[in-house]
């Protein structure tokens, strides 16, 4: 048996009422890999992550995380295997950064008051990895959105799950923080964790992820290695004419969008 699967989605379908959002999705992600989920707005990317995380239950099919059915696990057991980070999580009260990061230990420690040295060390490591250690005593409500995003990633790291799901981890971030977050995720993968994240920026995904999954209208249309990117795929997924440029100095490949592709049947203007 080769590398065990950390995420396996078996023919999952999900609908909000009458609207089918996920249509018979099949997905297998091996342990210790960095995968990107891409596609146009409304393709069902966030819903898929929420289904994998256990938050939404698919009407058909099942999701296995580390070979366990995620929807029949207890909340604490599940949260030690998998967690999810969204950019919209904002605190309504003035918890400090360190307190917010320590919330990642809820799934681990039992008693109400106790904070074991193990918990404190996990929080310390997570804050160091995400470079927010200097903010540890600041109220989370006073932080910029980039800093709050890193606090949530630190909380997820502190939780020490095998699988991390991230919904647009680089949203609201400037170029510098964007690369920093990507490096953090790369480090996590090096440590053997599995990362599946939604990106809008195809170029970031090309640089860091080992597999790119493209979704459209609730289905996978392509899953490729970064080398396999082509203008045809971009047109098929986003309806945009694009060129792929190569950075002469290095290995960075870059998608440059040119124009909105003609809808089929319409003559060129």
């Amino acid at each position: 048996m080769e590398a065990c699967l950390d995420i396996a989605v078996n023919s999952a379908s999900f609908a909000y009422g009458e609207d089918t959002v996920l249509d018979n999705i099949k997905l297998e992600i091996p342990k210790g890999t960095f995968s990107a989920l891409l596609g146009p707005n409304g393709a069902g990317k966030s819903t898929l992550l929420k289904v994998i995380s256990g938050y939404l239950e698919p009407q058909q099919g099942e999701v296995l995380v580390c070979n366990k059915r995620v929807h029949s696990m207890g909340d604490r057991d599940r949260s030690r295997l998998i967690t999810y980070v969204a950019p919209e999580y904002r605190s309504s009260f003035e918890f400090t950064v360190e307190e917010a990061v320590m919330m990642g230990r809820i799934a681990h420690s039992g008693s109400i008051m106790a904070q074991s040295p193990l918990d404190l060390e996990a929080a310390e490591r997570a804050m160091l990895a995400t470079k927010i250690i200097h903010l540890r005593d600041r109220p989370v409500t006073s932080l910029s959105s980039g800093e709050q995003q890193r606090v949530q990633i630190a909380r997820a790291i502190c939780q020490e799950p095998s699988v991390l799901l991230l919904d647009e981890p680089t949203a609201h971030l400037d170029m510098n923080f964007e690369l920093e977050v990507m490096e953090i995720l790369r480090q996590l993968v090096k440590q053997g964790r599995t990362v599946l994240a939604i990106f809008h920026d195809v170029n970031l995904a090309l640089r860091y992820a080992s597999t790119l999954f493209f979704m459209k209208q609730g289905k996978f249309v392509e899953s490729i290695h970064p080398d396999g990117i082509s203008p045809e795929i971009i047109e098929k997924v986003y309806g945009v004419e694009a060129r792929i440029l190569e950075d002469p100095a290095g290995k960075i490949r870059c998608v440059v969008p040119y124009s909105i592709a003609r809808p089929p049947g319409l003559p060129r203007a």
């Binding site: 999580y89 904002r90 003035e94 918890f95 360190e98 919330m103 809820i106 939780q159």
Partner: protein, 355 residues
């Protein structure tokens, strides 16, 4: 760091790496002194002033001593149960308020948002209008009030729960709707029983004049159990601060926690309100003030809110009894009269500090 010490807690970086928030010794000392002071004042002052040394002597002598003076009787039949009930009820309202604000992530929430107070009032008003007191004796009003509180929160809860999931927005909105419906019913009943209006108004404004050992004994089990359950959910409430979905991903059993908190808070509040009528403002203001002083961590917020709520209600009741000597003002009037300006002062001060 200096600013933090002024806020009632200190950050300790001990031998272990990492941080712990601890109440500063000064804060603990001041709170303890305030508790002792307020209880002593509550026991000592009133229509008859009793010096502290007589209170201690009477306490040591125990309840059942005969041929003792009126002071002894006043203490053991009136003031001890009254001050203790104020402590228990203030503590319960403080903790229930903290839990509700945490659950709804809303600083406007208080223990009455689910209709506990209006439901209890309707129960008591029905009892007053139909003369249940004559038929069932002293226990009629508390039992009816408790039943009313339970019925209205039950309706609110059922309306907001679908497929085992309770929606907090629906809870908040149906709580408001049910409360105003019930208030309308109370007003309707008042129109048709003019001769009872004074009694009704007095009950619905809340007061501790009906305190007794029996009232205390029946409120205490609910208060202790409820406060214990609420405190045990502290970590989950901390996680709720980032939203229910975020709490789910941190490993919190969201629906089970909500159910536990709603039940414990309603039961505790209903058992208090059944005897004293709804006492406003404590459950709203106390958690706020404590949060400003020691931060939002519910593991500390709840016990300190219990202490602060107890102290606040003992002092408010003392003022209610003594401010206009022969008369007793409903304690709810005092809590609002003094609580509201204090609250506004804090709000303005915090905004100036730029937070």
């Amino acid at each position: 760091m200096g600013a933090r010490q002024a806020r009632g807690y200190i950050v300790v970086r001990g031998s272990q790496r990492g941080v712990r928030r601890k109440l500063s010794p000064l804060f603990v000392a001041v709170s303890g002194a305030l508790l002792i002071l307020s209880v002593s004042l509550g026991l000592s002052l009133g229509s008859v002033s009793i010096p502290l040394k007589d209170i201690i002597a009477s306490l040591l002598a125990g309840p059942g001593v005969e041929e003792s003076g009126t002071e002894h009787i006043i203490l053991w039949t009136l003031r001890f149960p009254r001050v203790l009930l104020a402590l228990v009820e203030g503590a319960s309202l403080g903790v229930a308020g903290a839990a509700m604000q945490g659950l709804f992530r809303n600083p406007m929430a208080d223990p009455y948002v689910l209709g506990v107070s209006s439901g209890a009032s309707l129960g008591a008003v029905l009892g007053i209008v139909f003369g249940a007191g004559r038929a069932l004796g002293l226990w009629a009003l508390p039992v009816l009030a408790f039943a009313g509180a339970f019925a209205s929160t039950g309706i609110v809860y059922v309306l907001s729960t679908k497929n085992g999931r309770t929606d907090t927005w629906t809870l908040l909105l149906s709580g408001i709707a049910v409360s105003s419906l019930v208030s309308a019913l109370i007003a309707f009943l008042m129109v048709f029983s003019r001769q009872r209006v004074e009694e009704i108004v007095f009950w619905t404004m809340g007061g501790l004049s009906r305190a007794s050992w029996k009232a205390l004994a029946s409120a205490i089990p609910y208060a202790f159990a409820g406060v214990g359950v609420l405190w045990s959910q502290s970590k989950a409430l901390n996680a709720f601060s980032f939203g229910e979905e975020a709490a789910f991903h941190m490993g919190v059993s969201v629906e089970a926690v909500k159910r536990r908190i709603l039940r414990a808070s309603s039961l505790t509040t209903a058992s208090c309100v059944a005897f004293t009528g709804p006492i406003g403002f404590i459950g709203l203001i106390v958690p706020h003030v404590v949060r400003l002083l020691i931060g939002p961590d519910h593991r500390w917020l709840m016990p300190v809110s219990a202490l602060a709520g107890g102290i606040a209600l003992v002092l408010a009741d003392l003022l209610a009894r003594t401010i206009v000597p022969p008369l007793e003002i409903p304690v709810g009037v005092i809590t609002s009269l003094f609580g509201a300006p204090f609250f506004l002062y804090l709000l303005v001060k915090v905004r100036k500090r730029g937070m």
